[in-house]
Subunit: 197 residues, 2 copies
DNA sequence: CATGCTACGTACCGATCGGTAACATAGTCA
DNA sequence: TGACTATGTTACCGATCGGTACGTAGCATG
């Protein structure tokens, strides 16, 4: 790491500090100090702190979809198993020290302003995920695919939030089981069908 | 409002600005300017900005439990209906302009440090809610009350997050329906019981 | 009037914020 | 060698951060 170019060291350091402490809480001075670089090096690679934050969030988005597609690839043509694997792996990651939820969601909380780059990155990711989940729940044969997809999205976001509100053994650790229950209840024969006329 | 004491105006203004823009994003100068007061007035009522933020979160916690107990009181001895009413009212509030999720969760995202007062307030609220939900799911007769309570907590936190990631018609609007599905699937006869030996 | 108390404002503090100008150094290719 | 490019460094900018020393207006007492 210390052998890499200054721009790369700064990008890597920013990733760690932004995720650990939040974007607003980390000053550019702290970043370049930890990266053993200086501010002009930062501003030659990134136009502003906001763009550095945007790069950090793009990296996160990219890593997120890698994890997602990895779980998908492990169970071809079985979206339920794909999702379950993704959530089980997520549960593992949530147990690791320093885990602090989804960087994109956190950034959206830190930057409520409508047009902010950090917010745009987060919103884009969440919309894409929502559409993707709806495709998967439809493929599962859910009675109401969009409703189930939204339920799963809520559980996922809830796990992100809970994982930083509770130390361990919080509600987040149940996300895979609850998601599976919800899927089970949304599939197959219409248990909940109301009497017809 | 303009007739009130400086300390009260500051407290009220801080509540609005902290919720709208986030605690870190709002400086004490902005608060006293909007409150038509001055900084010494702020620091005579509050020891620090952090304590002003803590007061803001205590107010939020108090208002949260008022809303919760109001829904409980509306359906005595029917925890499922209590929860459904609470979530339906929450859905209403989420549609109102300027809604930005749970101030306590947002504060915990803004202040990841373990001992920070804002974080303590958030964590205390969430733990209390988790215990309360477990009591309710047990009263419902759920097969696994703690698991269901955690699922409901995840849905709630997910709704908070989603409500600020999607404009309208986001996953959050489904929270009451999904919660009811999950409850339905967790009650009564043991549909999911695994074969014994 | 004089005193004491409460409530508020003016003016300022050092530190840090994001960002930049000017300059030094090193590698590359002609 | 010399010119060019990329990257590093020092030193600084105005603005804003959270926080405070100190002065003053108003009002109730004696």
């Amino acid at each position: 790491m210390p052998g890499a170019k200054a721009g790369d060291r700064i990008r890597e350091t920013a990733k760690q500090l932004f995720y650990r402490d939040g974007i607003r809480a980390v000053g550019v001075d702290a970043i370049v100090r930890h990266a053993r670089a200086t501010k002009p090096s930062l501003y030659r690679s990134f136009r502003s702190k906001d763009e550095l934050a945007a790069a950090y969030l793009r990296d996160w988005d990219s890593a997120f979809w890698q994890r997602f597609e990895s779980a998908v690839a492990a169970h071809p043509d079985d979206p339920r198993a794909q999702l379950r694997l993704f959530l089980e792996r997520l549960t593992q990651r949530m147990r690791s020290p320093g885990y602090r939820g989804c960087a994109l969601t956190n950034a959206a909380v830190e930057y409520p302003q409508a047009g902010h780059p950090a917010r745009r990155a987060a919103v884009a990711n969440k919309h894409r995920l929502r559409r993707r989940l709806a495709l998967m729940t439809a493929a599962m044969g859910a009675r109401q695919p969009r409703l189930l997809a939204d339920g799963l999205a809520l559980l996922l976001e809830g796990a992100y939030a809970s994982s930083q509100l509770f130390r361990r053994n919080g509600p987040a650790r149940a996300v895979a089981r609850v998601a599976d229950q919800l899927i089970e209840a949304s599939l197959g024969r219409r248990r909940l069908t109301r009497a017809k006329h």
